[in-house]
Amino acid sequence: MGGLFVAGIVLFLIARWAFVPEGFGELGHYRTGALADNRVKKPVFAGRAACADCHTDEAGWLKGGPHKGVGCEACHGALGAHASGESDVKPVRPDPAKLCLVCHLPNVSKPATFKQIDPKDHMDGAGKCGECHDPHSPDKEPKKP
Protein backbone atom coordinates (compact mmCIF):
# COMPACT_ATOMS: atom_id res chain seq x y z
CA MET A 1 0.00 0.00 0.00
CA GLY A 2 2.79 2.35 0.95
CA GLY A 3 4.48 1.47 -2.31
CA LEU A 4 1.37 2.57 -4.17
CA PHE A 5 1.51 5.95 -2.51
CA VAL A 6 5.16 6.44 -3.32
CA ALA A 7 4.46 5.40 -6.90
CA GLY A 8 1.60 7.90 -7.03
CA ILE A 9 3.75 10.73 -5.78
CA VAL A 10 6.56 9.87 -8.19
CA LEU A 11 4.06 9.77 -11.04
CA PHE A 12 2.76 13.17 -9.99
CA LEU A 13 6.24 14.66 -9.95
CA ILE A 14 6.97 13.26 -13.39
CA ALA A 15 3.68 14.67 -14.69
CA ARG A 16 4.53 18.06 -13.23
CA TRP A 17 7.89 18.01 -14.88
CA ALA A 18 6.42 16.93 -18.21
CA PHE A 19 3.25 18.99 -18.43
CA VAL A 20 3.87 22.34 -16.77
CA PRO A 21 4.14 24.73 -19.71
CA GLU A 22 7.40 26.36 -20.58
CA GLY A 23 8.12 29.60 -18.80
CA PHE A 24 5.52 29.06 -16.10
CA GLY A 25 6.28 30.87 -12.86
CA GLU A 26 9.20 32.97 -14.11
CA LEU A 27 7.54 36.34 -13.58
CA GLY A 28 4.66 35.29 -11.38
CA HIS A 29 2.12 32.51 -11.18
CA TYR A 30 1.53 32.41 -14.92
CA ARG A 31 3.05 31.42 -18.22
CA THR A 32 5.48 34.08 -19.43
CA GLY A 33 4.45 33.42 -23.02
CA ALA A 34 0.95 34.65 -22.19
CA LEU A 35 2.30 38.21 -22.26
CA ALA A 36 3.42 37.79 -25.85
CA ASP A 37 0.14 36.04 -26.72
CA ASN A 38 -1.71 39.13 -25.60
CA ARG A 39 0.46 41.30 -27.84
CA VAL A 40 0.26 39.45 -31.15
CA LYS A 41 -3.02 40.85 -32.40
CA LYS A 42 -2.70 43.54 -35.03
CA PRO A 43 -4.35 46.83 -34.12
CA VAL A 44 -7.68 47.31 -35.90
CA PHE A 45 -7.62 51.05 -35.26
CA ALA A 46 -4.47 52.59 -36.64
CA GLY A 47 -4.43 55.58 -34.32
CA ARG A 48 -4.51 59.23 -35.32
CA ALA A 49 -0.74 59.45 -35.58
CA ALA A 50 -0.65 56.83 -38.31
CA CYS A 51 -3.39 58.73 -40.21
CA ALA A 52 -1.50 62.00 -39.99
CA ASP A 53 1.53 60.27 -41.35
CA CYS A 54 0.03 60.15 -44.86
CA HIS A 55 -2.87 62.53 -44.68
CA THR A 56 -0.86 65.55 -43.68
CA ASP A 57 -3.31 68.05 -45.11
CA GLU A 58 -6.37 66.53 -43.54
CA ALA A 59 -4.67 66.27 -40.17
CA GLY A 60 -4.26 70.03 -40.21
CA TRP A 61 -7.99 70.58 -40.65
CA LEU A 62 -8.70 69.81 -37.00
CA LYS A 63 -6.06 72.15 -35.66
CA GLY A 64 -7.30 74.92 -33.46
CA GLY A 65 -10.95 73.92 -33.88
CA PRO A 66 -13.34 72.46 -31.32
CA HIS A 67 -12.79 68.98 -32.78
CA LYS A 68 -9.05 69.07 -32.35
CA GLY A 69 -9.16 66.25 -29.81
CA VAL A 70 -11.32 63.93 -31.91
CA GLY A 71 -9.45 60.98 -33.40
CA CYS A 72 -9.86 60.43 -37.14
CA GLU A 73 -11.22 56.93 -36.65
CA ALA A 74 -13.87 58.17 -34.23
CA CYS A 75 -15.79 59.22 -37.34
CA HIS A 76 -14.11 57.47 -40.25
CA GLY A 77 -14.09 53.97 -38.80
CA ALA A 78 -11.33 51.50 -37.98
CA LEU A 79 -8.51 51.89 -40.50
CA GLY A 80 -5.64 49.72 -39.33
CA ALA A 81 -5.87 47.59 -42.47
CA HIS A 82 -5.95 50.75 -44.60
CA ALA A 83 -2.93 52.25 -42.88
CA SER A 84 -0.87 49.11 -43.23
CA GLY A 85 -1.78 48.97 -46.91
CA GLU A 86 -2.96 45.39 -46.62
CA SER A 87 -6.40 45.93 -48.02
CA ASP A 88 -8.34 48.43 -50.02
CA VAL A 89 -10.42 49.44 -47.01
CA LYS A 90 -11.24 53.11 -47.40
CA PRO A 91 -12.22 55.56 -44.69
CA VAL A 92 -15.95 55.87 -44.13
CA ARG A 93 -17.34 59.23 -45.26
CA PRO A 94 -20.30 59.52 -42.95
CA ASP A 95 -23.33 61.65 -43.65
CA PRO A 96 -22.96 64.67 -41.37
CA ALA A 97 -26.73 64.74 -40.85
CA LYS A 98 -26.41 61.45 -38.98
CA LEU A 99 -22.87 61.60 -37.71
CA CYS A 100 -23.17 64.94 -35.91
CA LEU A 101 -26.17 63.73 -33.96
CA VAL A 102 -24.29 60.74 -32.54
CA CYS A 103 -22.67 63.25 -30.23
CA HIS A 104 -24.70 66.46 -30.42
CA LEU A 105 -28.29 65.28 -30.11
CA PRO A 106 -29.62 66.73 -26.84
CA ASN A 107 -29.78 64.38 -23.90
CA VAL A 108 -30.36 65.34 -20.26
CA SER A 109 -27.65 62.97 -19.22
CA LYS A 110 -24.99 64.78 -21.21
CA PRO A 111 -22.85 67.38 -19.46
CA ALA A 112 -24.64 70.73 -19.71
CA THR A 113 -21.50 72.37 -21.06
CA PHE A 114 -21.46 70.08 -24.08
CA LYS A 115 -22.92 71.62 -27.28
CA GLN A 116 -26.26 69.99 -27.99
CA ILE A 117 -28.64 70.85 -30.77
CA ASP A 118 -32.01 69.43 -31.65
CA PRO A 119 -32.20 69.33 -35.46
CA LYS A 120 -35.97 69.86 -35.24
CA ASP A 121 -35.46 73.30 -33.72
CA HIS A 122 -32.56 74.33 -35.91
CA MET A 123 -32.78 75.74 -39.41
CA ASP A 124 -36.44 74.69 -39.68
CA GLY A 125 -35.50 71.08 -39.21
CA ALA A 126 -33.49 70.97 -42.44
CA GLY A 127 -31.05 68.52 -40.87
CA LYS A 128 -28.24 69.33 -43.29
CA CYS A 129 -25.45 70.07 -40.83
CA GLY A 130 -22.74 69.73 -43.45
CA GLU A 131 -24.03 72.61 -45.54
CA CYS A 132 -23.10 75.22 -42.97
CA HIS A 133 -20.63 73.46 -40.66
CA ASP A 134 -17.32 71.95 -41.55
CA PRO A 135 -17.27 68.66 -39.62
CA HIS A 136 -13.52 68.98 -39.12
CA SER A 137 -13.79 72.47 -37.76
CA PRO A 138 -17.47 73.16 -37.13
CA ASP A 139 -17.00 76.80 -36.17
CA LYS A 140 -15.83 77.47 -39.71
CA GLU A 141 -17.55 77.46 -43.07
CA PRO A 142 -17.33 74.07 -44.75
CA LYS A 143 -14.57 73.49 -47.23
CA LYS A 144 -15.81 72.91 -50.72
CA PRO A 145 -14.42 69.72 -52.14
Partner: protein, 254 residues
Protein backbone atom coordinates in the same frame (compact mmCIF):
# COMPACT_ATOMS: atom_id res chain seq x y z
CA UNK B 1 -0.30 64.13 -52.80
CA UNK B 2 1.35 62.07 -55.52
CA UNK B 3 0.53 58.41 -55.91
CA UNK B 4 4.16 57.51 -55.41
CA UNK B 5 4.41 59.32 -52.18
CA UNK B 6 1.19 57.75 -50.98
CA UNK B 7 2.50 54.29 -51.79
CA UNK B 8 5.76 54.97 -50.09
CA UNK B 9 4.05 56.29 -47.04
CA UNK B 10 1.60 53.46 -46.91
CA UNK B 11 4.50 51.06 -46.97
CA UNK B 12 5.99 53.04 -44.15
CA UNK B 13 2.63 52.84 -42.43
CA UNK B 14 2.72 49.09 -42.74
CA UNK B 15 6.02 49.09 -40.99
CA UNK B 16 4.51 51.20 -38.26
CA UNK B 17 1.67 48.84 -37.65
CA UNK B 18 3.62 45.64 -38.01
CA UNK B 19 6.73 46.14 -36.00
CA UNK B 20 6.09 47.07 -32.42
CA UNK B 21 9.44 48.72 -31.88
CA UNK B 22 9.03 50.96 -34.90
CA UNK B 23 5.50 51.90 -33.94
CA UNK B 24 6.54 52.73 -30.41
CA UNK B 25 9.46 54.71 -31.68
CA UNK B 26 7.26 56.61 -34.07
CA UNK B 27 4.86 57.56 -31.33
CA UNK B 28 7.73 59.03 -29.34
CA UNK B 29 8.94 60.93 -32.38
CA UNK B 30 5.49 62.40 -32.83
CA UNK B 31 5.45 63.49 -29.20
CA UNK B 32 8.81 65.19 -29.62
CA UNK B 33 10.54 62.69 -27.38
CA UNK B 34 12.45 60.73 -29.96
CA UNK B 35 15.31 60.15 -27.54
CA UNK B 36 13.12 57.94 -25.39
CA UNK B 37 12.05 55.64 -28.14
CA UNK B 38 13.26 52.13 -27.38
CA UNK B 39 11.46 48.80 -27.78
CA UNK B 40 8.82 47.94 -25.24
CA UNK B 41 10.03 46.87 -21.81
CA UNK B 42 7.40 45.82 -19.29
CA UNK B 43 9.46 47.08 -16.39
CA UNK B 44 9.26 50.62 -17.74
CA UNK B 45 5.49 50.93 -17.62
CA UNK B 46 2.63 50.86 -15.15
CA UNK B 47 -0.67 51.36 -16.91
CA UNK B 48 -3.73 53.07 -15.50
CA UNK B 49 -6.75 54.97 -16.72
CA UNK B 50 -8.55 58.14 -15.75
CA UNK B 51 -12.18 58.69 -16.66
CA UNK B 52 -13.74 62.13 -16.50
CA UNK B 53 -17.48 61.78 -15.89
CA UNK B 54 -17.94 65.47 -16.73
CA UNK B 55 -16.81 64.78 -20.27
CA UNK B 56 -18.70 61.60 -21.16
CA UNK B 57 -21.57 62.23 -23.59
CA UNK B 58 -22.74 58.60 -23.90
CA UNK B 59 -22.12 58.42 -27.64
CA UNK B 60 -21.04 54.78 -27.40
CA UNK B 61 -17.98 55.20 -29.60
CA UNK B 62 -15.80 53.45 -27.02
CA UNK B 63 -18.13 50.46 -26.77
CA UNK B 64 -18.28 50.01 -30.53
CA UNK B 65 -14.56 50.55 -31.00
CA UNK B 66 -13.76 48.04 -28.25
CA UNK B 67 -15.93 45.34 -29.76
CA UNK B 68 -14.36 45.98 -33.16
CA UNK B 69 -10.79 46.16 -31.96
CA UNK B 70 -10.99 43.13 -29.69
CA UNK B 71 -13.46 40.96 -31.54
CA UNK B 72 -15.89 40.93 -28.63
CA UNK B 73 -19.14 39.02 -29.32
CA UNK B 74 -21.82 41.48 -30.36
CA UNK B 75 -24.54 40.06 -28.10
CA UNK B 76 -25.62 42.31 -25.23
CA UNK B 77 -24.08 40.05 -22.53
CA UNK B 78 -20.46 40.50 -23.51
CA UNK B 79 -18.55 43.71 -22.92
CA UNK B 80 -14.99 44.63 -22.18
CA UNK B 81 -16.18 48.18 -21.74
CA UNK B 82 -19.68 49.59 -21.52
CA UNK B 83 -21.42 52.81 -20.54
CA UNK B 84 -24.12 53.20 -17.90
CA UNK B 85 -26.63 56.01 -17.62
CA UNK B 86 -27.43 57.17 -14.10
CA UNK B 87 -30.51 59.12 -13.14
CA UNK B 88 -30.54 60.15 -9.51
CA UNK B 89 -33.64 61.82 -8.10
CA UNK B 90 -32.80 64.42 -5.50
CA UNK B 91 -31.87 62.96 -2.15
CA UNK B 92 -32.22 59.28 -3.08
CA UNK B 93 -28.68 58.47 -4.07
CA UNK B 94 -29.08 54.98 -2.63
CA UNK B 95 -31.58 54.09 -5.33
CA UNK B 96 -30.48 55.58 -8.62
CA UNK B 97 -32.20 54.54 -11.83
CA UNK B 98 -29.55 52.98 -13.97
CA UNK B 99 -29.67 51.56 -17.46
CA UNK B 100 -27.24 50.49 -20.10
CA UNK B 101 -29.15 49.51 -23.23
CA UNK B 102 -26.92 47.10 -25.13
CA UNK B 103 -24.06 48.41 -23.01
CA UNK B 104 -24.41 51.79 -24.70
CA UNK B 105 -23.35 50.26 -28.00
CA UNK B 106 -26.20 52.03 -29.81
CA UNK B 107 -25.97 55.22 -27.79
CA UNK B 108 -28.64 56.34 -25.36
CA UNK B 109 -32.02 57.36 -26.77
CA UNK B 110 -33.37 60.07 -24.47
CA UNK B 111 -35.66 58.67 -21.83
CA UNK B 112 -35.77 61.40 -19.19
CA UNK B 113 -37.21 64.91 -19.34
CA UNK B 114 -35.19 68.02 -18.57
CA UNK B 115 -36.09 69.56 -15.25
CA UNK B 116 -37.47 66.38 -13.69
CA UNK B 117 -35.74 67.15 -10.43
CA UNK B 118 -32.97 64.61 -10.93
CA UNK B 119 -29.38 64.66 -12.00
CA UNK B 120 -28.28 62.43 -14.79
CA UNK B 121 -24.92 61.45 -16.21
CA UNK B 122 -23.02 58.71 -18.01
CA UNK B 123 -20.49 56.39 -16.41
CA UNK B 124 -18.11 54.48 -18.66
CA UNK B 125 -17.06 51.17 -17.15
CA UNK B 126 -13.98 49.13 -17.88
CA UNK B 127 -11.77 46.64 -16.08
CA UNK B 128 -10.13 48.52 -13.23
CA UNK B 129 -6.86 46.60 -13.64
CA UNK B 130 -6.66 46.26 -9.88
CA UNK B 131 -3.23 46.00 -8.33
CA UNK B 132 -4.50 43.45 -5.81
CA UNK B 133 -7.06 41.91 -8.00
CA UNK B 134 -9.67 39.52 -6.57
CA UNK B 135 -9.99 37.79 -9.94
CA UNK B 136 -6.30 36.99 -10.06
CA UNK B 137 -6.39 35.86 -6.45
CA UNK B 138 -9.03 33.20 -7.10
CA UNK B 139 -7.82 31.78 -10.41
CA UNK B 140 -6.94 28.19 -9.48
CA UNK B 141 -4.33 27.63 -12.16
CA UNK B 142 -2.64 30.94 -12.98
CA UNK B 143 -4.57 31.58 -16.18
CA UNK B 144 -5.18 35.18 -15.23
CA UNK B 145 -2.51 37.43 -13.83
CA UNK B 146 -1.23 40.92 -13.32
CA UNK B 147 1.43 41.67 -15.89
CA UNK B 148 4.66 43.38 -14.81
CA UNK B 149 3.35 46.58 -16.41
CA UNK B 150 0.15 46.55 -14.38
CA UNK B 151 -2.42 45.04 -16.72
CA UNK B 152 -4.68 42.17 -15.71
CA UNK B 153 -4.48 39.65 -18.54
CA UNK B 154 -5.86 36.22 -19.39
CA UNK B 155 -3.95 33.26 -20.74
CA UNK B 156 -6.58 31.88 -23.06
CA UNK B 157 -4.64 28.74 -23.78
CA UNK B 158 -4.54 27.90 -20.09
CA UNK B 159 -7.96 29.00 -18.79
CA UNK B 160 -10.12 26.14 -17.51
CA UNK B 161 -13.37 27.99 -17.85
CA UNK B 162 -14.24 27.46 -14.17
CA UNK B 163 -15.72 30.97 -13.93
CA UNK B 164 -14.51 31.58 -10.39
CA UNK B 165 -12.90 34.85 -11.50
CA UNK B 166 -16.19 36.03 -13.00
CA UNK B 167 -17.78 35.53 -9.58
CA UNK B 168 -14.91 37.27 -7.82
CA UNK B 169 -14.88 40.50 -9.85
CA UNK B 170 -16.88 43.10 -7.92
CA UNK B 171 -17.35 45.22 -11.03
CA UNK B 172 -18.79 42.68 -13.48
CA UNK B 173 -15.94 43.16 -15.93
CA UNK B 174 -15.50 39.55 -16.99
CA UNK B 175 -17.50 37.24 -19.21
CA UNK B 176 -17.07 33.80 -20.71
CA UNK B 177 -16.49 34.00 -24.44
CA UNK B 178 -19.02 31.51 -25.82
CA UNK B 179 -16.74 30.76 -28.77
CA UNK B 180 -13.73 29.66 -26.76
CA UNK B 181 -15.35 28.74 -23.43
CA UNK B 182 -12.63 30.71 -21.71
CA UNK B 183 -12.84 33.94 -19.79
CA UNK B 184 -12.38 37.26 -21.53
CA UNK B 185 -11.94 40.82 -20.32
CA UNK B 186 -10.41 44.20 -21.07
CA UNK B 187 -6.67 44.02 -21.68
CA UNK B 188 -6.18 47.80 -21.91
CA UNK B 189 -5.64 46.83 -25.57
CA UNK B 190 -2.36 45.23 -24.58
CA UNK B 191 -1.55 44.58 -28.25
CA UNK B 192 -1.83 48.34 -28.86
CA UNK B 193 -0.27 49.90 -25.80
CA UNK B 194 2.82 47.76 -26.16
CA UNK B 195 3.18 49.17 -29.68
CA UNK B 196 2.98 52.78 -28.60
CA UNK B 197 -0.70 53.22 -29.39
CA UNK B 198 -3.45 54.06 -26.94
CA UNK B 199 -6.47 51.83 -26.32
CA UNK B 200 -9.23 51.65 -28.93
CA UNK B 201 -11.71 53.26 -26.51
CA UNK B 202 -9.41 56.20 -25.78
CA UNK B 203 -8.51 56.53 -29.44
CA UNK B 204 -12.13 56.93 -30.47
CA UNK B 205 -13.50 58.88 -27.50
CA UNK B 206 -14.45 62.23 -29.06
CA UNK B 207 -14.33 64.22 -25.82
CA UNK B 208 -11.27 62.79 -24.14
CA UNK B 209 -13.38 61.44 -21.30
CA UNK B 210 -11.03 58.48 -21.01
CA UNK B 211 -7.30 58.66 -20.93
CA UNK B 212 -4.90 55.82 -20.68
CA UNK B 213 -1.85 56.73 -18.66
CA UNK B 214 1.52 55.30 -17.83
CA UNK B 215 2.27 55.98 -14.19
CA UNK B 216 5.93 55.15 -14.67
CA UNK B 217 6.34 57.80 -17.32
CA UNK B 218 6.90 61.07 -15.44
CA UNK B 219 5.87 63.08 -18.50
CA UNK B 220 2.51 61.37 -18.90
CA UNK B 221 -0.36 63.87 -18.52
CA UNK B 222 -2.04 61.40 -16.14
CA UNK B 223 0.14 62.75 -13.33
CA UNK B 224 -1.11 66.27 -13.91
CA UNK B 225 -4.68 64.98 -14.06
CA UNK B 226 -4.41 63.05 -10.80
CA UNK B 227 -2.83 66.06 -9.08
CA UNK B 228 -5.45 68.53 -10.18
CA UNK B 229 -8.64 66.49 -9.94
CA UNK B 230 -10.48 64.97 -7.04
CA UNK B 231 -10.69 61.36 -8.05
CA UNK B 232 -12.31 58.21 -6.75
CA UNK B 233 -12.28 54.54 -7.65
CA UNK B 234 -15.35 52.33 -7.89
CA UNK B 235 -16.32 50.42 -4.73
CA UNK B 236 -13.31 51.60 -2.70
CA UNK B 237 -14.53 49.41 0.18
CA UNK B 238 -13.47 46.37 -1.87
CA UNK B 239 -9.83 47.46 -1.52
CA UNK B 240 -8.84 45.99 -4.86
CA UNK B 241 -6.16 48.53 -5.66
CA UNK B 242 -8.14 49.75 -8.65
CA UNK B 243 -6.13 51.68 -11.22
CA UNK B 244 -9.08 53.21 -13.04
CA UNK B 245 -9.74 56.59 -11.45
CA UNK B 246 -12.88 58.58 -11.93
CA UNK B 247 -13.15 62.32 -11.73
CA UNK B 248 -16.56 63.78 -10.92
CA UNK B 249 -17.87 60.43 -9.72
CA UNK B 250 -21.20 60.67 -7.90
CA UNK B 251 -21.70 58.75 -4.66
CA UNK B 252 -24.63 56.89 -6.16
CA UNK B 253 -22.43 55.08 -8.66
CA UNK B 254 -21.67 51.48 -7.86
Amino acid sequence: MSTDRRQFLSAFGKLLILTPAAAAAWEYVEAGKAEEAPGYRTADHWWAMVIDIEKCIGCGNCVRACKTENDVPLEPEYFRTWVERYHVPEGVSEHPDVDSPNGGYDGFPEKYRPGDGAKSFFVPKICNHCASSPCVQVCPVGATFESPDGVVLVDKSYCLGCRYCVQACPYGCRYIDPRTETVDKCTFCYHRITKGLTTACCETCPTGARQLGDLKNPKDPIHEFLRTHKVQVLKPQMATGSKTWYSGLDGSVR
